[in-house]
């Protein structure tokens, strides 16, 4: 079980939650679990079934692009952050 931080731009798709629990051994599994329960997330996170290039995922503070991408293992209790680019100033 991992805790996933939901950015404000995606909260409408998950009923307003700021954080959700999700299951999975890898980042891909965790995202699949999230999307299966909140299908409205799919177009926001995925592009042809793959993680969209504009979505940044951090596992315990590290960008998965510098780890094993969506195959990065997720341990029980890990914190995942979905980091959106925000332009507002």
């Amino acid at each position: 079980m991992a805790a996933v931080r939901i950015p404000p731009t995606l909260r409408a798709e998950v009923g307003g939650a700021r954080q959700l629990e999700a299951h999975g051994e890898t980042v891909a599994d965790v995202l699949e679990d999230l999307v299966s329960r909140h299908p409205a997330l799919a177009p926001q996170l995925l592009d042809d079934g793959e993680l969209a290039p504009f979505v940044n995922v951090f596992v315990d503070g590290e960008d998965i692009r510098t780890l094993d991408g969506t195959e990065t293992p997720v341990r029980n209790g890990d914190n995942l952050i979905l980091l959106p680019a925000m332009a507002g100033g």
Partner: protein, 391 residues
């Protein structure tokens, strides 16, 4: 009871002394000692030994440990003739400084030998009063305040983030603030853009900010650029010379443009962005850490990245994030502390939580990577509107 002469003689017998000639040799050695000047402020202002630390005799005991935490460091203490500094040297020994020597003959003898002297740039009495709380901090002090006064910071955006950032940088005494913003003050700005005011409605934001900032601190000169930063004007604006860029823009094209320009000019960017209850802040420092494109290689589609005008923002949020940006900018100017280069702070105002993630340089980055593919300004509006996969 010993009189002054006996006391001085006894103290001198208890401390080490060094001649000006020997001290001058040490100054040029790789392991140079720290010279500590204990004279009165007006004596210091007329000239001092290069690189010396100034701390008046009166507050020496109180302040020296803040300035020199390393008690093993060799200190050469001096005054004008070597008497006041003899007492200071004895005190420093009693405070635990292991290697303290008194400059025999003092600064007068140093000058008689024709050795180099630094004439310090001094703060006016008004500046000394205005910045007194900075001058008390060892990490700032008079040198740091001069650096702040000499600094040139370019603010991109005089909106939510630019408001607190410009106010705090101006209050701190940043000598030149460039402000780029094409907009005029609108009623909907005033819920958070505290550099503006109700009587400025319809006034260009750069001029409104200039009025507020220059009224706050007459040491600050504001250079207004009432235009949107674009590929066409960015070189002209950067040619004015800036030490730090504070990015508080409200759109993706400007942020990618600021990034590319900053890399090609080697200027650190203090980045802040906000939406509703969330803010992000980091430093993109060319050559030191990652850039904006390392973190966000491609902009998100417009529907996934609504602006504050579309989605709203809590009024105080830019106050927090913009103040963090001012903090990073001041640290970069002072060369103190650990900057946010390589780290991104994520602030959630609803939960009042601060998360930190690591941001690494991408060797494949098209602008700051090992084999850059973008080497000149592009059409940033098109880049940010392009469908994903084509961008």
């Amino acid at each position: 009871m010993a009189g002054y002469r006996e006391l001085l003689a006894r103290v001198r017998s208890e401390i080490e002394e060094i001649s000006s000639v020997d001290a001058h040799e040490l100054l040029r050695s790789p392991d140079a000692p720290l010279f500590v000047d204990v004279r009165e402020p007006d004596e210091w202002e007329e000239g001092h030994i290069p690189g010396a630390l100034y701390t008046g005799r009166g507050r020496l005991e109180q302040r020296i440990e803040g300035f020199v935490p390393d008690k093993a460091r060799t200190l050469v203490v001096y005054c004008s003739a070597g008497s006041r500094s003899a007492f200071a040297a004895k005190t420093l020994g009693e405070l635990g400084y292991e290697s303290v020597v008194n400059l025999a003959g003092g600064f007068a003898d140093w000058k008689r030998n024709g050795f180099e002297v630094t004439i310090p740039r001094v703060l006016s009495s008004e500046q000394r009063a205005r910045y007194s709380r900075h001058l008390l901090i060892p990490e700032v002090g008079e040198d740091g305040q001069q650096r702040i006064l000499d600094a040139r910071v370019l603010l991109v955006g005089a909106g939510g983030l630019g408001s607190p950032a410009s106010l705090y940088l101006a209050a701190a005494g940043v000598g030149t603030l460039g402000i780029v913003d094409p907009d005029v003050v609108d009623e909907s700005n005033l819920q958070r853009q505290i550099v503006h005011a109700t009587d400025r409605l319809g006034e260009p934001k750069v001029l409104s900010a200039k009025r507020t900032v220059e009224a706050l601190n007459p040491d600050v000169r504001v250079v207004p650029y009432q235009e949107r930063l674009t590929s066409e004007n960015v070189e002209r604006i950067l040619a004015d010379g800036w030490d730090v860029i504070v990015d508080g823009a409200d759109n993706f094209p400007t942020r990618y443009l600021v990034n590319d320009a900053s890399i090609w000019h080697g200027i650190p960017v203090v980045h802040g962005s906000i939406f509703r209850f969330e803010g992000q802040v980091t430093v993109f420092h060319p050559g030191v850490g990652p850039c904006y494109r390392c973190l966000f290689p491609k902009p998100p589609p417009a529907e996934l990245a609504p602006s504050c005008a579309e989605g709203g923002v809590l009024g105080v949020l830019p106050g927090i994030i913009g103040s963090l940006q001012a903090n990073e900018a001041l640290k970069l100017i002072l060369g103190r502390g650990d900057s946010l280069a390589g780290r991104l702070l994520l602030f959630d105002a609803l939960g009042t939580t601060l998360d930190e993630v690591t941001v690494r340089r991408d060797p494949e980055c098209p602008v700051c990577g090992e084999h850059p593919t973008i080497t000149e300004y592009i059409d940033y509006v098109e880049f940010c509107n392009a469908p994903i996969g084509l961008g």
